[in-house]
Amino acid sequence: MISIKNLHKSFGELEVLKGIDLDVEKGQTIVVIGPSGSGKTTFLRCLNILEKPSDGTVEIGGLVADFSKPMSKKQIMAFRKQSAMVFQHYNLFPHMTALDNILEGPVTVQKKDKAQAKEKALALLDKVGLSDKADSYPHQLSGGQQQRVGIARALALEPKVMLFDEPTSALDPELVGEVLQVMKDLTQEGMTMVVVTHEMRFAKGAADEVLFMDSGRIVERGTPDEVFNRPQEERTKRFLNLIQDTDTI
């Protein structure tokens, strides 16, 4: 489903991604972990071309983007359709209700029939457990609810791949679970997902593979069990010590 070769990204002088290679099968869930500034967000954004990679190729769902060549706006748009992004801070449109947020993509952009799109949007709201919140504005929703609307908005685009950038790290501790539950449901339905998160319970329970990124490279990869319990690299061990419930302090 996803095939990434030699992906590079620089901001001016600063090389943030130093050659990423990755293949993801349809239906797989990949969890990406790593210290702040290691390039996790940049990596995800490159897959959705929110940042234009400097070099490399990415294939998603059969469509290939070669970033060593210039791309037209149209090509970018087409490629971007393959995936949908869920943001750390939800980024819902505050002036639209939950329903309108979800409809914006299908109706305004994809010009789908409004009645049908609405039916589908309501089904999505139901799926994320918010059928009663269709007419609420984002500010009337809790963080967890907003993030679930964010997931529904992404799903409404019918992407082949879902990208999550720390979807729960802005949430109060007791609201994290509800969002992770929705994500786990998606995994089980066979959605292909790339998830940046430090939530161990999600990684352990849902990831097919865990990548540890550092300084723009994938330093270690393997099953959750391999990476969390038997890390090979010093850097991985150090990082896991910092974020895990161990007795470093």
Partner: protein, 233 residues
């Protein structure tokens, strides 16, 4: 001194009352016929211009940026009176003659356009980057993003400073007299010129301006409330 003489002099008091009464209608008439339409039309046109200018300023095209910059700098850096003067008395010397009312509308719109563009630019820049990205992600084009995501939110932030711009505009329309538009302040001057009660007539005009501005502040409050529907406090 003078005021004493007014109150110790019932005749004069009566005269002032009469003048105030009889001049109120013509003032209101002028306000309704010229001051208000001139303000409203110029404001609306100026807003369009302001949005375009703001977009030019934040665009990545250097030429557009510079055109916008120069326009804003010239308009904000020079007195409105001189701008109107040049527009109305200067342009005919190069063969362009515009009628008073349209010339006033052009002059004031250009003015509003420059001032409001800064407000709108700031408002657009205040919208979190995440909103642009969310719009990108769902596949919106630049113009769709602007129309459906950015400008509606920027409007909310812009209401108070734009109402300032409008308030200034309403009062600035008094300069239209210079280019032959008989707006309210001109009428006050006309009336005062015959009875020499400038203080009284100017005071009356000020009162009407104040009422307009007050009504405007009510509208502003309404608009803010409407927008607040989707903004938490």
């Amino acid at each position: 001194m003078y005021l004493n003489s007014i109150f110790s002099n019932p005749e004069r008091l009566e005269r002032l009352g009469d003048i105030a009464q009889s001049s109120f209608l013509p003032l209101i008439e002028a306000a309704v016929q010229f001051t208000l339409p001139l303000s409203v039309i110029s404001f609306i046109l100026g807003l369009f211009l302001a949005v375009v200018t703001a977009l030019a300023r934040i665009s990545t095209v250097r030429v557009l940026q510079w055109i916008a910059r120069v326009y804003v700098s010239i308009i904000r850096g020079t007195p409105l009176l001189v701008q109107l003067f040049i527009l109305f008395y200067g342009l005919p010397t190069v063969g362009v003659t515009i009628d008073p009312f349209p010339a006033a509308v052009i002059g004031f719109s250009l003015n509003v356009g420059a001032y409001a563009s800064e407000v709108i630019r700031a408002a657009i820049l205040s919208i979190p980057k995440g909103q642009w990205e969310a719009a990108d992600t769902i596949g919106m084009s630049y113009s769709q993003t602007l129309r459906r995501v950015i400008l509606p939110q920027a409007s909310r932030v812009s209401v108070p400073p734009l109402s300032n711009t409008f308030i200034s505009l309403v009062k600035d329309t008094s300069l239209a007299a210079l280019i032959l538009v008989t707006e309210m302040f001109r009428v006050a001057q006309q009336i005062a010129a015959t009875n020499y009660e400038f203080l009284l007539l100017y005071g009356q005009a000020a009162l009407i301006y104040w009422i307009i501005c007050f009504l405007l502040s009510l509208v502003q409050g309404r608009l803010e409330n409407r927008f607040d529907r989707y903004v938490s406090r």
